[in-house]
Symmetry: C2
Subunit: 343 residues, 2 copies
DNA sequence: ATTATATTTTTACGCGCGTATATATTTTGA
DNA sequence: TCAAAATATATACGCGCGTAAAAATATAAT
């Protein structure tokens, strides 16, 4: 590697002995130049440490290879894992992922989309915050940029939605819990920010009624994204006030369940299956931490792999055909029961 | 808000009746224009939805208000919390934060710095991955951009380092554990990627010897960033093989401790303080999850607030004085003992 | 070898904005 | 009221790169 400092494409064109437009063409698509030219460029690339300015590149390009990935919350391991998964698909398909987290803030979500717009992305994979999302402005964005929604749906927004079948997954675990013990109560936030939570609530009620049981909703107060804290605080209250009419609790998601488990432990309630246990607790999502709780958490796993693969594929098809989907396609994947120690 | 679509600064200059250079000046520093002009611009801003293209803005600016924040791992709630903290300071100081995660990958870390360079940042706050970091290239970066290191130190790299005093914090908890029960064994990874881990190991050995005890290091295999998994797997092995010569285990960090706690639970070992307990487990960092483990985790808290505040302040001073620090300043903050249920 | 075709080079302009300079206009101070 | 100081405008060029069109060159086909 030479020590001559190359600061832009002109410099690199000079030292490589190739014209700048051809260099530009190469970086856009390495196979669009003659093989011998390509080799000359790549030989120069080995000697000189140059890579085009990403932002200047996108400034005047009709269409880039950028794909935006927007998730509701970076610090949530659940979303972090999904993002990583999606990111890999994007890279494999030869696109460049740009991952942004909205920190549970709808304004940040819109700003993320605005920032992405400046990068002229070929498409965007968006997991919306949910109920609080600014649906109108997201819809505006989708008019300009091919966008596939995943994880959380917003009606009629985006070209497609890929998520999980909450009806099936909740049905699955409710059925399991009823079959192996007392019918579960449903522990959830009263006003959840995530639309999946509402679907799960309904699915729980339906499943219980179908099985001939009376649904019992435990709806607790709480705002924001600190679900463990809410699960712990409200779980403690529920246990202390003896508000449980059953020994089985199904939590709307694993993070609530993690907090609830901690509350149960604090109150000396042994959680698990055996006759020595006072309580069964189940979650939903198969959160990365759910295998390290005490006891380990019985839950329903989301098919991360399928959801992220299908989301990415759908977007790439959209990009390749260069036309908007005639009808908005909704794909829901079934969950799988993950039996662990807590229920 | 008018529906006329403003697509660039020229458009906005037209509709606001102000020349583009003045508009540009305003966006760079709102107070650099006459008050009456400023009001006219802001009135126009209310009517028309315009904001300058962030990337084009940075392209030809001598110095921007951007501040890069780079952390080792986005999905780790510990770093996510630090990042959020630092970010707030940056915003308060009137700078624009750009947060990037390196996903534990040294190449990604360098790429993050390269990307930041294109944004012409006023400065960068960098929490390096650690041992695996490409120290040479990071040092190169620091030559061009004022950079303050935090959380993990790299010798002589960056203008300053702000972190925690591992000597003090480990000393604190070792002393506490020895005072209230058997002296602890130290559970850690054999080849940790984080330099703090090495400091903690030494601090443990020193503390033990100072108190007249024989140090007992349990060094387990494991690569990567899945600390809970390592803590669980190796913790299980250690317990099953009866490799513990004491009933007290101090883990090098909370994430390992979380895995270890889970292993202990699985093996039917009751963790905690009372006479009915078979094991005491302590961690280090006060990870956001450590208050929800079963039992809750006794640990040493990092002074997040102080570390992030000082890191930001140090960088801003550096930026304002426009000169490099004459000597590299290292500031270490003491940890606080957080007594919970596990030890 | 000659023609047809594919690729590269030259030249020029565009993206959205920063910034410098000369000039025009306001505001301020006495 | 009038000159001095402060601020705004017009104009022009730069950042690093995309892209279009015509001219020049290399490769393929006959």
């Amino acid at each position: 590697m030479s020590d001559f400092k190359i600061k832009n494409m002109d410099d690199f064109a000079s030292v490589s002995g190739i014209s700048r437009p051809t260099i530009s063409k190469y970086f856009n698509d390495a196979d669009s130049v003659r093989k011998s030219t390509r080799e000359r460029i790549e030989k120069a690339l080995e000697r000189y440490d140059y890579q085009p300015n990403f932002y200047a590149m996108n400034q005047n390009r009709r269409l880039t290879k950028n794909v935006g990935i927007v998730i509701p919350y970076m610090a949530d391991p659940h979303f972090a894992e999904i993002a990583r998964n999606v990111e890999n698909h994007v890279i494999e398909a030869g696109y460049r992922p740009v991952v942004l987290g909205s920190q549970g803030n709808p304004e940040q979500e819109i700003e993320n989309l605005n920032n992405l717009r400046l990068l002229k992305p070929a498409g965007v994979l968006l997991a919306p915050i949910g109920r609080m999302s600014d649906a109108r402005r997201i819809a505006d964005f989708c008019k300009d940029v091919p966008t596939v929604l995943f994880d959380a749906n917003i009606e009629d927004v985006g070209e497609a939605f890929i998520g999980m079948n909450n009806n099936q997954s909740i049905g699955l675990i409710v059925e399991y819990l009823c079959r192996t013990g007392e019918p579960p109560a449903f522990f959830e936030m009263l006003t959840p920010s995530n639309p999946n939570a509402l679907k799960r609530r309904n699915a729980y009620v339906n499943s219980m009624e179908r099985l001939g049981h009376t649904p019992h909703l435990i709806q607790v107060e709480g705002e924001g994204w600190d679900f463990e804290e809410i699960g712990f605080r409200e779980g403690s209250r529920v246990i202390a006030d003896r508000m449980l009419s059953t020994d089985t609790v199904l939590c709307s998601n694993d993070r609530l369940a993690i907090g609830f488990l901690s509350a149960a432990y604090q109150h000396g309630l042994r959680v698990g299956l055996g006759p020595s246990c006072a309580l069964r607790v189940a979650g939903h999502d198969d959160h990365p931490f759910s295998r390290y709780t005490c006891p380990t958490l019985t839950t329903v796993s989301q098919d991360y792999a399928a959801i992220s693969a299908r989301s990415a594929e759908t977007l790439f098809t959209l990009i390749d055909t260069e036309q908007r989907a005639s009808s908005r396609e909704v794909t829901l994947y079934d969950g799988k029961l993950v039996m662990r120690g807590s229920a």
